[in-house]
Symmetry: C2
């Protein structure tokens, strides 16, 4: 008898044959020098890509150029890994119904934008929209956790979102103090059952939140449905591209007009109007709502808004890093529209004629243009959804061409992407520090780019080197559906914390040996601590019918020495990171023995890390 | 005025300076030739790695060697991206309370194992455990979706899981028909409030499920807490390594004995005993429970179980690809224990003396050995949690050494991993077709390997080339906490479907123009279809207080042309893939207009894809 482990296929050749079911690789990948962008083991990425996660409800952080997903940040979703939507602390942020259950378990994030100081990221916060339930969430960048969520009143379909970059009133405040949110769906005001069959009475509001308190400061009633939002570097203007300026309620009616608009908001004037009491309120709410509809804003000198016509159903508006231009993409037109910031500001000063005169370029760039990003050399990169391409074009040349220069070479390069790109964004491209290194194409269909995994495919994120004249495809990364927009932030902008501070948690269990059980009628509070590989309390007993609150503080101080706490059959699962405190409350409705255990690997004796919950039969 | 886009940092050098907060790269990465394993754009991976997701509650598919996450499969968690836990179809699989809400929203997956035919993967199913609520889930490999979940009776802490590889009774059945599950926590039997303070009456059961029906066939009462499960290639034996054979209820009592055990189950005998009525039932349940405790199984010739002593608190048991050996790791002992399958089978035949005589090797391999994987050349690779290393050792040499050969060279190589590895697994390593190409180390701590993202870090998956004498680190990949075990499956084993078959859905809305609204008292059923870029119904009206069921069939036939359906304020969000049907039911308790919209990018006019839900005030 041979005692060796000679397997039945010893010396079998490596399995490199194509799978029977795997599609054939696509012809000649255009990639070339991608190897030089590899991030080898032990090396760090140069950038954080902070990305929305669509209807997964989360936000994600990828490393660039590696494409590694370094973190998922649960925001509008429930995540048992961290206990998001399960702990009392996270439920308070998400919001609950009167019975204590979550108000929402779903959400749809599209656009992530950061806080600015002096025209570039300051690494304090990012904000993200929830299109589904009309919310805005804030994420702290020191812990990369959501700390506040605000549900916006009077709106539906909160889609576009951007921060201000400078104060519109006090120019000495050179950092973000406001967050702007554009609503896409027009609804009755208020939406309480009245006017449901009178679409002409529906409205869409643009919302301004205070970046610090996350409270709604004001809203502005506009025509049409808002899509993306962008802001000027001088703080004076916010803008949103719009479709359905027809205010149609059926699909077919939403694209009858030849032109829609990019609407500009004069923030200082809106805030003056609010201060002067020139607003209404809707229903029982106190939020001031100013009238920004075109008819009420015909006189430029008093107008709160300026509707710059652009080809119909535009998708996306982005600002060039020098602050000079807003670029709207055509979507149903093969063009991008370049609007000069200065001319819009002059229009508000009464120095322009028609809003359309603010357009200084409108190059034909390809089919289905959606979003535009910028390098540091005056070039724009627009995703072409229908062409499945990225087009590189020069903004200066586009402006010259629009002015009649037939020799202006507008389109400089095109590259295939795989397939149907949505958003595209460049490294630091939405700041004054755009560095022209990387462009990321967020593609909506991956088709045959990855091993087949059934009917539902992942998306493709393709990283493109934009340092030279020709764009070069570096790599394909996967993304769980459905990422939309992202920002690519240089790593030196982010300063994270490695452990928590116990004093920040008002309910912290400061005694590492705590065995505290407090009873108040049927309410029982259990205070315990974790320290690898044990909980301070080996067992605790409650009575069937008790409302039990467990408060757990992790006394470990070693970075990432996280413990979990799972309670079988009680649907409880959460973690506590080093020096963090978290709590859960549940009704002990099932008698018996329930082994609470550490769900997050912590120590060689992790499996033995348990505490016995005994629920005595009533 | 310059009209160019000359940004303020034109020609700025690429930002390669280290971030102030980013830790310094680790010294001299041991990786070398990793470049040759890069999967360039447009190329496919060679393997699927199907991985548990720990207390995220999900299962994931990574490509190997790229490390790309190609799919998340929601199982025990809620996932608004696909509508898992939201659609009626998924809620029926997860299980609901009498009020229709989900019984559980959390879970803790550890071990994924596939269906076998002739000793290798047949690509039909994988199964995964839920340690938190004692469940086993099945995932179809043609769609990579969970199709059944069974909650196991009489147990808590369902941890180890493995499929059988051949029928133990009818040897002509050479494929998987059973799934074995080992419970970790000992509880009162039944756990209904009785005996809570009498730990001596607690028990732990090993469960056998029917692979097809997912019904529980039988359970076997054992001593100790079960950890991992493994099965023999001849179908005759299942095994589980065990800790706490002391049956202690407090942490300290769980490691007093010098030796714990690997318990072997004689499946054919257990099934004979069940057939002969030699079982008990617990509480009101009808599941037959046989007595597999050591005291009741002292006579080898009738024993259902064999307890082979191994050093205390072992972690993990794995079978060599030739089927000859079960290897238990020491965890608290620096050893691996090699148990000969043949000798265990002989013990059951009465041809052995003591169970310990089945041990044929026990090499010292390093500190904190947890899990062992195999190549096709007779070598084993064990993760060393405390050493943060992988050790490569030869099984044949270990056996010779144990037999007294002082010249046997057991340990062949060691490689550092970063850091604290848990499970490790090789390409096709748990099948007869182990191919000796890749070893993946699932590391529990990533520390400084990736950009800092706050107190909670991701884990590291490190891929190692094992084709030559020296192990070579290829790459570091990230994984959202907390992956445990995985199987690495050659891509030609998997045959997925690209679209659904409409006829498989009993409620399919077959008319692509369906405008059907059916009312039965307060119950309203809306049947509609999707076809890019529109829903068949542009609007539908219900009354406040109605119970509304929406059935949506996607008539698109193009691969991956998926549509979403989100209802603002009603917490509804799900998708329908091509030719799929899904439904949701909710109470229309809020009057007003609610724009149902497509959440999953589908078409250039995706944004316009909406349907207006009008809820008339009661």
């Amino acid at each position: 008898m041979s005692l060796g482990l000679t397997a039945c296929k010893e010396n079998a050749p490596p399995k490199t044959e194509p799978a029977a079911s795997a599609p054939a690789p696509v012809a000649a990948a255009p990639a070339a020098s991608h190897g030089k962008f590899e991030v080898p083991p032990g090396q760090l990425d140069d950038y954080y890509s902070i990305s929305s996660g669509g209807h997964s409800g989360e936000v994600r952080i990828y490393g660039v150029p590696s494409g590694r997903e370094i973190k998922r940040i649960p925001v509008f979703n429930i995540d048992p890994m961290v206990g998001w939507g399960i702990t009392n602390e996270s439920k308070a942020i998400i919001g609950t119904k009167p019975d204590g259950s979550l108000k929402y378990k779903t959400g749809d994030t599209h656009h992530v934008h950061g806080s600015y100081t002096d025209g570039t990221y300051d690494g304090k916060y990012v904000w993200v929209n929830d299109k589904l339930h009309g919310r805005v969430a804030r994420i702290r960048c020191d812990t990369f956790e959501c700390d506040k969520i605000t549900e916006l009143p009077n709106i539906q379909g909160q889609h576009g979102l951007f921060t201000d970059k400078r104060d519109p009133v006090d120019q000495s405040i050179n950092h973000t103090t406001r967050v702007f949110a554009g609503a896409e769906f027009h609804i009755p005001l208020p939406n309480d059952g009245r006017d449901v069959n009178s679409p002409e009475k529906y409205g869409c509001l643009f919302t301004c939140l205070d970046a610090d308190s996350m409270e709604v400061k004001w809203q502005c009633h506009v025509d049409g449905n808002m899509d993306l939002v962008a802001t000027s570097y001088d703080g004076k203007l916010a803008a949103s591209n719009q479709y359905n300026t027809e205010n149609g309620v059926h699909y077919e009616d939403m694209m009858s007009a030849e032109r829609d608009a990019c609407v500009f908001f004069n923030i200082a004037r809106i805030e003056e109007a609010v201060k002067a009491g020139k607003f209404v309120t809707i229903g029982d709410l106190k939020v001031p709502v100013v009238d920004g509809r075109a008819k009420a804003n015909a006189d430029p000198k008093t107008a709160l808004t300026c509707y710059v016509p652009v080809p119909k159903n535009p998708h996306g508006v982005n600002v060039s890093p020098d602050g000079k231009y807003f670029v709207c993409s055509g979507k149903l037109s093969p063009t991008a529209t370049v609007i000069a910031t200065e001319l819009v500001e002059k229009w508000f000063d009464g120095e322009g004629k028609e809003p359309r005169d603010c357009v200084v370029g409108e190059p034909e760039i390809g089919l289905g243009p959606l979003h535009t990003a910028f390098d540091n050399k005056g070039n724009a990169y627009t995703t072409l959804f229908l062409d499945s391409m990225i087009v590189k074009w020069n903004v200066d040349a586009a402006i010259k061409s629009f002015a009649g220069d037939k020799n202006a070479k507008v389109v400089l390069d095109r590259i295939d992407v795989h397939y149907q790109p949505g958003h595209g964004y460049t490294s630091m491209g939405e700041t004054k520090e755009a560095d022209g290194r990387f462009f990321n194409s967020g593609n909506k269909f991956s088709k045959d780019r990855f091993l087949p995994v059934g009917p539902l495919h992942c998306e493709t994120e393709q990283l493109i080197d934009i340092t030279s004249d020709k764009m070069v495809l570096i790599s394909d990364h996967t993304a769980y559906p459905e990422p939309h927009d992202a920002i690519i932030v240089a790593r030196n902008k982010i300063k994270t914390r490695q452990i928590y501070d116990m004093d920040e948690f008002p309910h912290a269990v400061k005694d590492p040996k705590s065995q505290t059980i407090t009873r108040n009628g049927k309410k029982v509070t259990i205070q315990l601590a974790s320290q690898a590989p044990a909980y301070s309390m080996r067992e605790f007993t409650v009575k069937q019918g008790d409302e039990v609150t467990i408060i757990l503080t992790n006394h470990d101080k070693v970075e990432d020495l996280t413990h979990g706490f799972g309670i079988p059959k009680y649907d409880i699962c959460f973690i506590v990171n080093p020096q963090q405190t978290a709590s859960v409350t549940f009704k002990a409705d099932k008698p018996g023995v329930f082994w609470c255990y550490c769900t997050h690997f912590c120590h060689a004796l992790h499996l033995e890390m348990r505490s016995r919950l005994i629920v005595e039969k009533a």
